[in-house]
């Protein structure tokens, strides 16, 4: 029996080692990367959507770490979209599931991981998506200086605001339409802390709406429409399915991923067009982020890479894992 016991232990160990080896293999490159955010040390977190993981890259674009795997469980990722960092360095990612039936039994919503990739908590849990009247599909994320988490919900055309503990503070907007303050596919959101401004991309209306953020006497967070940027079209200042928005708070510059027009457009905080960043070849710009030196990080989902531009629009470098 002792022989058998030893043999069984060896077999189990070999089996576990095999599983460990098989499960620890990471894809080499990125596949349809989406949201991106820059840490204070200028390292990069990017949602590697096609691989259902968040990839952490060094300043120079070298692979540091990755976490997440496909699944519908609490710490799994099914359809990751955007990423954001709080001041503690924790990573927030929006995760939604297109399949309505599947989403009933799945952990969608917002998931929070430690900087090293340990699952911390989820916001929304299994019932994030559904409400009495809306389907909430979390897309874009941003976190302000107070630690408030802003979640753009595409289907409900609203922005849900959570505090640092994950409690819902308020819900902004929520009206589908083309009037001011209404949205037709609210996909991304960005906060200008310096100016207390909230930007939200309005996809089907082909515009970016800007709101003043303020607190009422009762402490209620409110958003008042200030201006709209852009209309549908290919000309300067027009959009075709605008995606992520990045704010250079030092200058108030607003960078908008004008995906349908294959460009990034730059505006000032008053909505005035400043410049555009283009590429000589086909690309699909979705995620945007600003580095500490004002560099613009643009995620090119089509070519599975991150392009880093100087503030003036000149290409600094491109990050392609496994190349």
């Amino acid at each position: 029996m002792s022989h058998l016991h030893s043999l069984s232990q060896l077999g189990l160990l070999a089996w576990l080692l095999f599983l460990l080896t098989a499960c620890s293999g990471q894809p080499v490159g990125l596949l349809r990367p989406n949201g991106v955010t820059i840490a204070p040390d200028d390292s990069i977190y990017v949602m590697d959507k096609g691989h259902n993981r968040v990839v952490h890259l060094s300043v120079g674009g070298q692979f540091l770490d990755a976490f997440g795997s496909l699944g519908r469980g609490q710490n799994d990722i099914f359809s990751g979209w955007d990423v954001a960092l709080d001041q503690a360095g924790n990573v927030y990612l929006s995760n939604h599931i297109f399949d309505e039936e599947a989403s009933y039994r799945s952990h969608d919503g917002i998931k929070v991981f430690s900087p090293s990739g340990q699952f911390l908590r989820e916001i929304g849990g299994q019932d994030y998506r559904f409400d009495d009247s809306f389907h909430y599909t979390p897309y874009g994320l941003d976190i302000d200086q107070q630690g408030h988490l802003y979640v753009a919900n595409f289907d409900s055309n609203s922005v849900r605001v959570f505090d640092v503990t994950g409690e819902l503070i308020t819900e902004l907007f929520g009206q589908r339409g083309s009037d001011l303050g209404q949205f037709n596919g609210l996909s991304y959101v960005a906060v200008d802390n310096q100016r207390s401004l909230l930007y939200a991309s309005d996809e089907a209306n082909s515009r970016v709406q800007q709101f003043n953020l303020s607190l009422t006497d009762t402490g209620q967070l409110t958003a008042t429409h200030r201006l709209s940027i852009g209309t549908y079209g290919q000309s300067v200042g027009q959009f075709s399915y605008p995606q992520d928005i990045a704010i250079d708070e030092s200058s108030g510059r607003v960078y908008v991923a004008d995906m349908g027009n294959r460009r990034i457009q730059v505006f000032d905080s008053e909505g005035e067009y400043l410049a555009e960043i283009t590429q000589p070849h086909e690309w699909q710009v979705i995620g945007l982020a600003i580095g500490s030196d004002g560099a613009v990080y643009a995620v090119d989902a089509l070519n599975n890479r991150i392009l880093v531009f100087e503030p003036n629009g000149q290409l600094r470098r491109q990050i392609e894992l496994g190349q």
Partner: protein, 521 residues
């Protein structure tokens, strides 16, 4: 290196491995079959949905949808209303319509309201081919929303000139993540079955090994150790109704047989020791040295059939000039005969010293033996008393074979002929009847005469074919001898002839020969 491979490993591990392999292959086969069937069914469903919608879509309504803001138009909703039943009924993940402009593909209408004119960056060669050959094509790609596979079918319209052209593509898709999770769930179930089956196989194997093999074998082993430790006759109770039970039965037979053989062997050894003791005791009763009497040459031998002899002889010096000769044969064999022989020899020896007359010696001996030996046993004996100065022999017989007198014929140098010294009167062996009065015969001897006493072992010696040595052969042998033979030579010749006659046949009775030759000194 004393490396032992347990029986379990030899028998059960291959079976377990085979079992796990069988379960694994079966599970893999089920997994492959189910996923392939699912894939085939899904492919058929996707193609049918895409083709059906491409044929039935309301193209006039579709053409009214042109800009992103039209996503809120009744036309857009009308098309979605056409897509929705197909999506729900076919249980697929996505249905949408693309259009192509300037070699770029754009979303037109889709169930998820992605947007009119939303750029589709991931058009595959199959998308392009569907536009060109106006046939459905299987597509697979990964875009910013996920990984998909499905079918595209062209929406074909006919212009005024009758030519057909593709207006757009209907695409029906399955989310690969959903498929992967489904396959992973299936695979997990297979693994669960495999691991569960393996655990059950191991447990069953252990139980089977313990109850059907290990425990019976250990009982056999313990039984064998008991046997090896000297517990002969130790048996094992095993009711496994298989070959191991047969083995246990065989072991029990062997153990019982060993016990019996050991007991027999012990008994034989004990008897052998007793026989050796009896032999040694008996040998001390025979004269250690032959008497040396002037005028007589004496030779004697008792050749027992086994360790002990029922035959005996005795040579008694009775004064300076007389010799008493006793030759006897006790009925029966082995120890009882030997014990009676001891008694008979002692009694006759004592009586011979007490009585001068041989007939009286035998009569007294008979009376004593009759009282002291078991019933049914008897002693055939003869007692002769030689008187050297007178060359006379007085001889009485109690059932013993008549001695043979070999008379020297000086003229021929040969024996003139052997004759038997016959007795008269009662000749019952000693010990049968209480009171017997034996009679004695007196014979006058001449120098050179030899009296040969012998027991029935001589004449009843048998050859391999069962023939007896017989009186005639003995008589013929001694008659052919030169008359100057010594008693030693006579006995040597007779024994040699018996050996020649018997050949390889085993001696079957005691042989006793006593030869007394009158030398005339």
């Amino acid at each position: 290196m004393n490396f032992k491979v347990p029986l379990f490993l030899k028998l059960m591990l291959p079976l377990i491995a085979l079992f796990i392999l069988t379960i694994g292959l079966s599970g893999y086969w089920v997994y492959r079959q189910s996923t392939q069937r699912w894939q085939t069914e899904m492919d058929t469903r996707l193609e049918r949905v895409a083709s059906l919608l491409a044929r039935t879509i309301d193209v006039n309504t579709l053409e009214q949808i042109k800009t992103p803001s039209d996503i809120d138009s009744p036309s857009y909703q009308a098309i979605v209303n056409q897509l929705e039943p197909a999506l729900t009924a076919s249980n697929i993940d996505w249905i949408g319509i693309y259009y192509k402009r300037d070699n770029y593909f754009y979303y037109w209408v889709d169930y998820d309201f992605t947007g009119v004119g939303y750029p589709f960056f991931y058009a595959t060669p199959e998308h392009v081919a569907a536009y060109q050959d106006q046939k459905p094509h299987r597509v697979q790609y990964t875009d910013e929303f996920g990984s998909y596979y499905g079918f595209v079918a062209p929406i074909i319209i006919t212009d005024d000139s009758g030519d057909t052209q593709v207006m757009g593509l209907v695409e029906a898709l399955i989310l690969v993540e959903s498929r992967d999770l489904l396959q992973r769930d299936t695979l997990n179930r297979v693994w669960l079955i495999l691991i569960g089956g393996s655990v059950i196989a191991v447990i069953l194997s252990l139980l089977i090994n313990y109850f059907l093999i290990n425990r019976p074998v250990r009982r056999l082993q313990r039984g064998a150790l008991e046997l090896a430790g000297g517990q002969l006759g130790h048996t094992i109770s095993l009711n496994s109704r298989d070959e191991l039970e047969d083995l246990a039965d065989t072991f029990n037979q062997m153990s019982t047989r060993l016990e019996t053989l050991y007991q027999q062997r012990t008994e034989q050894e004990r008897m052998q020791r007793e026989l050796e003791i009896a032999h040694n005791v008996q040998q001390t009763l025979f004269p250690s040295q032959l008497p040396q009497l002037p005028g007589l040459q004496i030779a004697a031998i008792c050749q027992p059939h086994r360790e002990t002899s029922g035959d005996f002889y005795d040579l008694l010096e009775l004064g300076q000039t007389q010799l008493g000769v006793v030759v006897g044969d006790v009925s029966g064999k082995s120890i009882p005969a030997a014990m009676v022989m001891v008694a008979a020899q002692s009694v006759i020896r004592a009586e011979a010293h007490d009585h001068p007359k041989p007939e009286l010696v035998l009569s007294q001996s008979n009376a004593l033996l009759h009282r002291n030996i078991p019933r049914g046993m008897f002693v055939a004996a003869s007692y002769a008393r030689f008187d050297v100065p007178t060359r006379t022999l007085v001889w009485a017989n109690a059932g013993q074979i008549y001695p043979m007198l070999l008379h020297r014929a000086s003229s021929t140098g040969h024996n003139s002929g052997a004759r038997y010294l016959e007795s008269t009167g009662a000749a019952f062996p000693l010990g049968i009847v209480d009171k017997i009065q034996y009679t004695a015969q007196e014979v006058e001897l001449l120098p050179g005469d030899t009296v040969l006493f012998f027991t029935d072992g001589v004449i009843e010696a048998m050859n391999p074919t069962g023939n007896l040595y017989g009186f005639e052969r003995l008589e013929s042998l001694v008659n052919d001898l030169q008359s100057d033979f010594s008693p030693d030579r006579l006995i040597e010749v007779i024994l040699g002839d018996i050996a020649t006659f018997a050949g390889p046949a085993e001696q079957h009775d005691d042989i006793t020969l006593v030869a007394i030759k009158i030398t005339g000194d």
